[in-house]
C-alpha cells in the first residue's frame, strides 16, 4: 500500500500556568510521527491549522519539525477542514483534550463529516501490506492492536512512543501560509451548527478522598483491577436517605466538619 498524502492537524494551546501560547503536546506527537512516516515513505505531508495564522503558538510546531504550516482561517472549521482533506489518505492529530473542559471533539466530528474511520488513542503505527496496524492505549496497562484501511483518521495518545525535538533553527526556516481566507463551503450547509466557546481554564475541583487503609498488596490490586475499589452501592430508599448515607460517610472520614 502506498500512502500518498498525509495531513497533520495541529491546534493552538496555552500553558496552563503562564497562559502563554504554545503547541499542544498531543498534536506535536502526531506531527513528529507524521514527519517520520512521511520521511520513510517519501510522502507528501501537509501540516494544517484552522485558526489565526498570527498565533505565536504555531512557531512551536515549526521548531518541532513542520517545514510549512497551512492555515485555514475560514469558519466553520469542520466543514472547511473537510473540504481541504478530501484526497488525503491519512490524517493524524492529537487524541484528546489537554486538560479541563477542552472539547477534544474535532477528530470525531471530522471523521463523521468525511465518513472515514477514526482510531483514537494510538501509541504506535505500523505499516502492513494494505492497511495500518495501530497499537491503542487503554487504561490499567491494557493495549489493543487494530488494523485500519485508509483513508482514516488516527488520533495519537499522549503516551505515544515519540520524543519531541525542539530546534530553533527549524523555527527560523519554517513558513506559515494562509490557505484561503474565504470559506469554501456555504455557511448554511454546516449541519452540526457547533458553537465553539473559548474560555480560560477553570480551577480543578479538589476531590474529597477518604484516607485509604490498604495493605501494599491491596493498593497494587486496586491499581491494576477495577473490582478492588471497595465502597458500597446504595440504591435503596429515597433521595434524602441516599444523601444521608453520603453525608455520614463524609462525616465519618472527617472530610467535612458540619
Amino acid at each position: 500500500m502506498i500512502i500518498k498524502r498525509i495531513a497533520v492537524l495541529i491546534s493552538a494551546g496555552r500553558h496552563p500556568t503562564s497562559g502563554q501560547p504554545r503547541h499542544c503536546r498531543n498534536d506535536s506527537l502526531a506531527l513528529t510521527m507524521a514527519v517520520d512516516l512521511a520521511n520513510s515513505h517519501s510522502t507528501e505531508l501537509d501540516v494544517i491549522h484552522a485558526g489565526n495564522p498570527e498565533n505565536p503558538a504555531l512557531a512551536n510546531y515549526l521548531a518541532l519539525g513542520a517545514d510549512e504550516i497551512k492555515v485555514i482561517t475560514a469558519e466553520p472549521i469542520i466543514e472547511n477542514l473537510a473540504a481541504n482533506l478530501k484526497d488525503v489518505d491519512l490524517i493524524l492529530t492529537g487524541s484528546r483534550a489537554e486538560n479541563g473542559q477542552d472539547s477534544g471533539l474535532l477528530p470525531y466530528l471530522l471523521a463523521v463529516k468525511l465518513n472515514i474511520p477514526i482510531v483514537a488513542n494510538a501509541l504506535e503505527i505500523k505499516q502492513m501490506d494494505d492497511k495500518l496496524e495501530v497499537l491503542q492505549f487503554f487504561p490499567k496497562g491494557k493495549r489493543r492492536r487494530v488494523a485500519v484501511k485508509l483513508p482514516a483518521i488516527i488520533a495519537i495518545h499522549p503516551l505515544a512512543f515519540v520524543e519531541l525535538h525542539y530546534a530553533y533553527a527549524r523555527e527560523q526556516q519554517g513558513k506559515i501560509v494562509v490557505l484561503d481566507s474565504r470559506s469554501t463551503v456555504n455557511n448554511t450547509v454546516a449541519e452540526n451548527n457547533l458553537q465553539w466557546q473559548i474560555q480560560p481554564k477553570m480551577r480543578k475541583p479538589n476531590k474529597l478522598k477518604a484516607p485509604e487503609n490498604l495493605t501494599g498488596h491491596g493498593r497494587l490490586l486496586s491499581a491494576i483491577t477495577s473490582e478492588n475499589k471497595g465502597g458500597t452501592v446504595v440504591n435503596e430508599g429515597n433521595s434524602v436517605e441516599k444523601a444521608q448515607v453520603i453525608l455520614s460517610y463524609l462525616r465519618e472520614h472527617q472530610l467535612i466538619n458540619f
Partner: protein, 596 residues
C-alpha cells in the same frame, strides 16, 4: 592548516606578547607541579639557547670559541632536563599519553648529546665520533622539525607559543576573568559548531597546543564519575578532526565506556556522532576545572558548549529531562514550569518590600529558581534576616523576575537564553536599584558576566560578598557561632572559578568564630558538585555520581558540616544519603545573630 577555521579578530602585534605570557601566565599554571616545571625549563631553555647560539655562531659566521663553550653548557642543561623527563617516563602516571610521547625524552637526549659532541672545541675529534655525533644530531633534529610539521609531540612548541599570542580569550592575560560564554548572532544563523572548520582558527590553534599532560583529565568530575567524557581526549579528537584522521593513535585514557579506534573525522564532516558522541558532550558540568588546570590555557568549555549549541539549535538534541526544562523556560520563564507569582511566597510573612518602578532601593534581591525549592527557602529566609540586621535598604524582585536563562545557555539553547536575557534587561531598565544581590552563583554569573553583551551592566554581588563587606565595615554585627562541629567549605564552581570569589565566604565563617578544615581540592581548584551545566537534567549514566565523590572528600577529613553558597550545590550534596549536614553560609551566620 588552522586557516580552515572561522575568522577571528587578531593582529600581528599580538606576537610580541608571547614572552610575557609564556613566562608569567603559563608558568603560573605549570609551576603547580614543580618537578615538571623545572625539567621543562631545563630542556626547553637549553634547547632554545643552544639553537640560538648555533645560529649566532655559525649562521652569522662568528666561529667564536666562547660561544662554542656556551653551546656546550646549554646542551648540558638540556641533557639534564631531558634525563629527568626520561626518569619520570619510566613510570608513566595514567593521565599521561604514551606512544610518541614516550619516545620524546630519547629524541631530546639524542639531540642534546649530538650537539654537545659537535660543539666540543676539540680539534682532534676522531672521525668516528664526529660521524656519530652528526648522526645523533640529525636524529634528534628530526623529532623537532618533523614533529612540528607532521603533528608529533614537538608540535606543541610552535602551536603553544602562537596560541599564547592569539588566545581566543585575550582578557585572561591582563589578570581579568574571562568566563562568560561568547554570544551567537542568531540573526546571522550562527548555530554553534557542527564541524571542525566551524571553530575559529585561533581555537583550532589552541587544540594543537595540547601537550596531552592529562591535567584536565585528572580534574574532570565527569571523568572521575565514569561518565563518557575525558577533556583531554576531547581536545585530541578535535585535533584529529582537523587533520582528517581517526582516534586509533590516541595513547591516553579513553572516554569511559567508549572504546578507542572507532571514531574519525575531517574538517568539513559533522562532528557528532562520527568523531565525538553526543553523550560525551552532555556529560560536562561546565565546571571549568579543566580550563583551570590546563598549562596550555586551552578553553574546553567553549568547545563543548559550542558543539552543544549546534545539537540543540539545529536538531533539538538535548537528552533527558533537559528538553522539558527548556520548554518550561520558554513557556513560563521558570525552570520548573511554575507560576512566577509564586516565587516569593516564602517571604510573605517576612515583611519585605517587592520592588516597584519609581521606588528606588539600594539592593535588589534576585532569588533565582532556588526560591521555589523548600530547602533553599530556608537559606533565603536566613539571608533576609541578615540583610535586615544590617539595615540594608532592599527589595525582592517578585513576579517581575524571569529566569536568567543560565541553564538554557549551558545546554546550548542560545535562543532561549537570549530571549530571557533581553526580557530581564527590559525589566531591570524599568527599575531603580544600585546593585543586585543573589544567593545563586549561576544567577550571579549570567547577570554579571553574560548580560553585559546584551546591554545589561549591573553591579552584581553574591550574598557572601555583600555580607562580608557589611561585616567588614561594621554595618552587620555578627555574634559568635554555637557551631562546634568540624566544618568544611565547598566552593561552588560558578562562585570560585567563574567569579574568583573564594575569600568572602571564608572570612565570614572565621568572623563568627568557625574554623574551616579544607577538603582536598578547594578554592579555585575546587571539585564540582555535579550540578552545573544542566548535567543533572541530561543525566548521562556513569559508574558513580559526582556529588558522592565530593561528599567522600568531606567525609575523608571527618567533616560534620559542609558549608555551601549555592542552591545547586545544596541540592546535589543533600541528595547524598550518608553525609555531613549541609548548611548555607547565610544559615550559619543568621544563627549567630542570636549571640550578638
Amino acid at each position: 592548516m588552522w586557516r580552515t577555521g572561522k575568522a577571528a579578530v587578531w593582529s600581528w602585534a599580538q606576537l610580541l606578547t608571547i614572552p610575557k605570557r609564556y613566562f608569567v601566565d603559563l608558568h603560573h599554571v605549570v609551576a603547580r607541579e614543580p618537578y615538571i616545571a623545572h625539567t621543562h625549563v631545563a630542556t626547553a631553555g637549553g634547547a632554545v639557547a643552544a639553537i640560538f647560539l648555533v645560529a649566532l655562531n655559525y649562521g652569522l659566521m662568528h666561529y667564536s670559541i666562547v660561544l662554542n663553550w656556551a653551546i656546550v653548557v646549554a646542551t648540558c642543561i638540556m641533557f639534564i632536563g631531558a634525563f629527568f623527563m626520561w626518569l619520570r617516563r619510566r613510570k608513566v602516571p595514567l593521565r599521561l599519553s604514551r606512544g610518541a610521547w614516550n619516545r620524546l625524552p630519547y629524541s631530546l637526549l639524542v639531540f642534546a648529546l649530538g650537539l654537545f659532541l659537535v660543539s666540543l672545541p676539540v680539534t682532534s675529534l676522531s672521525n668516528g665520533i664526529a660521524i656519530l655525533a652528526i648522526l645523533l644530531l640529525l636524529l634528534g633534529s628530526a623529532e623537532l622539525a618533523l614533529g612540528i610539521g607532521l603533528g608529533g609531540p614537538m608540535k606543541h612548541a610552535v602551536a603553544g607559543l602562537l596560541h599564547l599570542a592569539f588566545h581566543p580569550r585575550q582578557e585572561r592575560f591582563s589578570s581579568k576573568l574571562s568566563t562568560g560564554l561568547k554570544s551567537l548572532n542568531l540573526e546571522n544563523k550562527e548555530y554553534g559548531i557542527n564541524k571542525p572548520s566551524d571553530f575559529q582558527w585561533n581555537q583550532l590553534l589552541g587544540f594543537d597546543a595540547c601537550v596531552q599532560c592529562g591535567k584536565c583529565e585528572t580534574a574532570c568530575p565527569a571523568f572521575a564519575a565514569g561518565q563518557p567524557l575525558n577533556p583531554k581526549k576531547l581536545i585530541q579528537d578535535l585535533v584529529v578532526g582537523l587533520s582528517s584522521g581517526t582516534d586509533a593513535n590516541f595513547t591516553g585514557s579513553p572516554y569511559p565506556n567508549i572504546p578507542i579506534g572507532k571514531h574519525a573525522g575531517s574538517p568539513n564532516q559533522t562532528i557528532v556522532p562520527s568523531l565525538i558522541e553526543a553523550q560525551t558532550l552532555w556529560s560536562c558540568t561546565t565546571c571549568r576545572a579543566c580550563v583551570q588546570e590546563c598549562p596550555m590555557l586551552i578553553e574546553h568549555v567553549d568547545a563543548i558548549v559550542g558543539m552543544r549549541r549546534n545539537l540543540t539549535l539545529t536538531q533539538g538534541g538535548v537528552p533527558g529531562t533537559a528538553q522539558q526544562t527548556l520548554e518550561n523556560l520558554r513557556q513560563t520563564a521558570t525552570v520548573g514550569g511554575l507560576d512566577r507569582n509564586a516565587r516569593y511566597y516564602w517571604a510573605i510573612d517576612l515583611d519585605v518590600k517587592t520592588i516597584q518602578p519609581n521606588t528606588p532601593v539600594d539592593a535588589l534581591l534576585v532569588a533565582g529558581e532556588g526560591a521555589f525549592d523548600m530547602r533553599y527557602q530556608r537559606t533565603l529566609r536566613a539571608l533576609i534576616k541578615l540583610l535586615k540586621a544590617a539595615n540594608v535598604d532592599f527589595a525582592v524582585m517578585g513576579a517581575l523576575e524571569s529566569d536568567t536563562g543560565d541553564t538554557a545557555r549551558r545546554l546550548g539553547d542560545e535562543a532561549t537564553f537570549q530571549m530571557l536575557a533581553k526580557r530581564n534587561i527590559a525589566t531591570f531598565n524599568t527599575l531603580q536599584f544600585k546593585r543586585i544581590v543573589t544567593a545563586d552563583p549561576h544567577v550571579l554569573h549570567s547577570l554579571k558576566n553574560e548580560y553585559p553583551a546584551f546591554g545589561g551592566h549591573y553591579e552584581v554581588l553574591h550574598h557572601t560578598t555583600l555580607l562580608a563587606q557589611l561585616s567588614a565595615n561594621g554595618q552587620l554585627k555578627l555574634g559568635k557561632s554555637d557551631e562546634t562541629r568540624k566544618l568544611t567549605y565547598h566552593d561552588p564552581c560558578y562562585l570560585a572559578r567563574y567569579n574568583n570569589e573564594t575569600e568572602s565566604p571564608r572570612a565570614l565563617l572565621r568572623s563568627v568564630g568557625i574554623s574551616i578544615h579544607e577538603m582536598e581540592r578547594s578554592g579555585l581548584r575546587g571539585r564540582c558538585c555535579g550540578g552545573g551545566g544542566g548535567a543533572p537534567l541530561t543525566d548521562i549514566p556513569g559508574k558513580q555520581r559526582i556529588p558522592d565523590i565530593r561528599i567522600a572528600d568531606a567525609s575523608t577529613i571527618g567533616a560534620e558540616v559542609v558549608a555551601v553558597g549555592c542552591p545547586q550545590c545544596t541540592a546535589m550534596l543533600e541528595g547524598v544519603v550518608e553525609r555531613p549536614e549541609v548548611l548555607d553560609i547565610a544559615e550559619l551566620l543568621a544563627a549567630s545573630l542570636e549571640n550578638v
